[in-house]
């Protein structure tokens, strides 16, 4: 007799199109227990290897099963400093749940949902702190309070080092706070997770742009830090090189999401930053960011049009490849489809058309077909000659990916970069070509996932710790 995978209670799609409340509502204790029972407690536990931060998954599930949620939390936190975040946003389907032994014959154990359950429970309790370590007297500067930086900082603090984080925005979290929407990751959860990191002794300096307020060299020298970790992510937006990208109504996904999530534009005028969505929105791209932008546009447009007694907007995802190649997390695509987002596959914009007021009046697109795989392994999209057509849109959001923001490197030499602007860093250790500087997350890999950034933060923390304890004789120089 096998227990089926517990479905996650979710807000109804038609209802949730008009609000920013969390879509996935979380397991009840009964559901969590049922789901935990499904785990075979197999010997090999491939799930642990499947996890970029090696959460002892089978172990925490066992503790959960026996009713000791606190112990389950302790086990998770031994490896993962932000479990309430990861349980919600990790692409488990390509990580732990992909290799789950149960998954060979049945649906895999819902590891992510269980992690979320435990993490949320713990946040509700106020959270336990690990034992205070012996201070080492060494100081590390972490640049960027996103997933990589927060993880690196938390781990270093747990090892006894003094950590100060320099964040350029007015709130910590990085993509967790400006990129991922409220309905996927409530900001209250992010705040609580960040609070935990601060309780470990990490000091976060907000409104501190490294490259402007301080340089990396200054931090390492005059400011007395023994080492630095670069976790500034990939925050530079990419615009298509087509005519019309500067017209009114064209946004980078970064701007659109920052106005919406960080600045709470969907609550204008209660919050002062506005964000505008017209009647017909086209989001270009099909990654997680594109899904987020499309679903935010739908909600904002629905709320704004309801006030005017008008119909909700039509929101399109315009993607040059097909459904099969869509890189977004499966659950996000599924939720987007449920919410009525229209997917225009094998379509690519060639020009954004404007009116005499420089506003978006439409978008000229071309149909695509798939050829041989390119360097990324995905089939190359090829334009079909003569297939141009005009799409009726008034808002365009470019969600094509992002690159590292070069601001952080100002006046600090020695950091070798690739042609894409990413920092060259050792895959195992996170060491860069600059002495005493490590890097991890999107600044090294280009735009990727929260969990891989966290994994990199962990690795770098371990390596920085080794360096600090060896008095500079070991890694780093």
């Amino acid at each position: 007799m096998s227990i089926p995978r517990q479905p996650m209670p979710e807000q109804d799609p038609l209802e949730r199109r008009a609000n920013f409340f969390e879509v996935a509502q979380g397991f009840t204790p009964e559901m969590a227990k049922q789901e935990a029972e499904r785990c075979l407690q197999c010997k090999d536990t491939p799930c642990v290897q499947g996890c970029p931060v090696e959460v002892p998954i089978a172990e925490f599930i066992l503790a959960l099963r026996s009713g000791d949620v606190q112990e389950a939390a302790r086990i998770i936190k031994s490896k993962n400093n932000l479990p309430a975040v990861c349980g919600r946003v990790c692409p488990q389907e390509s990580q732990c749940e992909l290799v789950c032994t149960l998954g060979k014959r049945h649906e895999p154990v819902a590891v992510g949902r269980l992690e979320r359950y435990v993490a949320d429970w713990e946040l509700g309790q106020g959270g336990e702190l690990p034992e205070q370590p012996e201070p080492t007297g060494r100081k590390v500067a972490v640049i960027g309070a996103g997933p990589a930086g927060l993880t690196c900082a938390a781990d270093l603090a747990k090892m006894g080092h003094q950590v100060e984080v320099f964040e350029s925005l007015h709130a910590p979290g990085g993509v967790l706070i400006y990129g991922i929407p409220e309905f996927r990751l409530p900001k209250e959860v992010v705040r609580a997770e960040v609070d935990y990191v601060c309780k470990l002794g990490v000091e976060i300096h907000l409104n501190s742009v490294v490259g402007k307020l301080y340089t990396i060299d200054e931090l390492l020298n005059s400011k007395g830090f023994d080492a630095a970790f670069l976790g500034t992510g990939a925050g530079l937006p990419i615009f298509m090189r087509i005519p019309g990208v500067n017209l009114i109504g064209v946004y980078s996904a970064n701007e659109f999401l920052t106005r919406t999530n960080l600045m709470k534009g969907y609550l204008f005028p209660e919050y002062d930053t506005p964000v505008l969505v017209g009647d017909k929105v086209a989001v270009i791209g099909a990654g997680n960011v594109a899904m987020d932008a499309a679903r935010c546009a739908l909600r904002i447009g629905t709320l704004q049009s309801a006030e005017r007694g008008e119909d909700p907007p039509e929101v399109h995802i315009v993607y040059r490849r097909s459904r099969q190649e869509v890189p977004a997390r499966e659950e996000e695509v599924h939720h987007a489809e449920q919410e009525g987002i229209i997917f225009d596959f094998l379509t690519n914009p060639v020009e954004v058309l404007g009116n005499d007021k420089k506003q978006v009046a439409g978008m000229r697109c071309i149909r695509m077909e798939l050829g041989e795989p390119d360097a990324s392994g995905r089939r190359r999209p090829i334009p079909i000659e003569g297939s141009e057509f005009d799409m009726d849109v008034d808002t365009v959001v470019m969600a094509l990916g992002t690159q590292p923001n070069p601001l952080v490197f100002a006046d600090s030499g020695g950091l070798e970069r690739t042609q894409w602007g990413t920092v060259r860093a050792d895959e195992e250790t996170g060491q860069t070509t600059k002495g005493r500087v490590w890097a991890g997350g999107d600044i090294v890999t280009g735009a990727a996932t929260v969990i891989s950034a966290m994994g990199a933060g962990k690795q770098a923390a371990a390596n920085i710790d080794r360096f600090l304890r060896s008095d500079g004789k070991d890694a780093g120089e």
Binding site: S168, L169, H170, L206, N207, S208, V209, K212, L213, Y214, G235, L236, P237, F239, V245, N246, I248, Y251, S252, N254, E255, T258, R259, M263, K264, F268, P269, E270, Y271, D272, T273, P274, L276, K357, K358, N405, P406, L407
Partner: protein, 282 residues
């Protein structure tokens, strides 16, 4: 929180504030700006650095009350504080000994022009200054400008102070009368900068302008501030804020400044309704 140490009312709509921001003051240079957020619900707005004191650890801003955020900011006084202040942002003015330079400040643009003129003077330039505003009340810092300019012309559109002229008139005269002006700075409302560039055109001299696009983060991550300069997309916050005005697509800048006009108007009206002194109405 960043404390307001001093507040000066320059006119009904222009206010000056000295803010406590020692780290920003330490690094601030002429031409740069800061982003300010008043409180939790506030928007992030860019404001040019009008002055800074590295010893005292302060940064001075001058702003014109044009909408809700600036009006709200204007109600704060010494002892109050703003939630966030980020800086110094943008590229500093390229200060060199150019020989003779002309600095034109229009309206609230006088504020960023002052530290630039000062830095140019310190670098050995002969600094010719023009400062203008619509009317007498909107002028400020004449003494400060005089202290850093070798020659200074003050004008008002309506003649209520100084010479009755738009800044472009003395600009035209100076550039016609002498051939030694190697560089011009013109800072003020976009339309003023556009016309200064047009005025200087026949004289083939670089006209450095400081663009005041809408911004959100101010650090290059969103592109809200993008403009076309020489046909290329540039971000005002990281590629600017100064550009050679001869290559700026002014129509696009002006259009993009008006994206949220309706929302700005709504917010301003709601603010005024809530905060206009009822006594005045009686």
């Amino acid at each position: 929180m960043y404390s307001i140490l001093k507040k000066e009312v320059l006119s009904e709509v222009n206010k000056l504030m000295v803010l406590e921001a020692p780290e920003v003051a330490r690094k601030a240079k002429a031409g740069q700006f800061v982003i300010v957020r008043i409180d939790e619900n506030g928007e992030r707005i860019p404001l040019t650095i009008a002055d800074f004191d590295r010893q005292e650890g302060t940064v001075t801003i001058i702003f014109q009350e044009v909408g809700k955020s600036t009006m709200k900011l204007g109600t704060l006084g010494a002892g109050a504080a703003v939630s966030d202040l980020v800086g110094p942002l943008g590229n500093a003015t390229e200060i060199e000994d150019y020989g003779t330079v002309l600095c034109v400040g229009g309206g609230v643009g006088i504020a960023p022009v002052y530290p630039i003129a000062r830095a140019l003077k310190e670098a050995g330039n002969t600094v010719l200054g023009i400062m203008g505003a619509r009317t007498c009340d909107l002028l400020f810092w004449e003494e400060k400008m005089r202290s850093v300019c070798d020659e200074l012309i003050v004008c008002t559109d309506d003649g209520t102070y100084g010479r009755m002229a738009l800044v472009t008139q003395p600009m035209q005269e100076i550039l016609s009368a002498r051939d030694d002006v190697s560089r011009v700075w013109a800072i003020g409302p976009a339309i003023m900068m556009k016309f200064c560039v047009r005025t200087a055109e026949p004289f083939e001299v670089p006209v450095i302008v400081s663009l005041n696009s809408i911004m959100v983060d101010g650090t290059g991550m969103c592109g809200a501030c993008r403009v076309l300069v020489g046909g290329e997309t540039k971000f005002v916050c990281v590629d600017g804020p100064e550009f050679d005005g001869r290559f700026v697509d002014w129509d696009l800048l002006l259009a993009r400044q008006r994206i949220y006009l309706t929302e700005e108007k709504q917010a301003k009206e709601e603010w005024l309704e809530e905060h206009t002194c009822r006594a005045v109405e009686r």
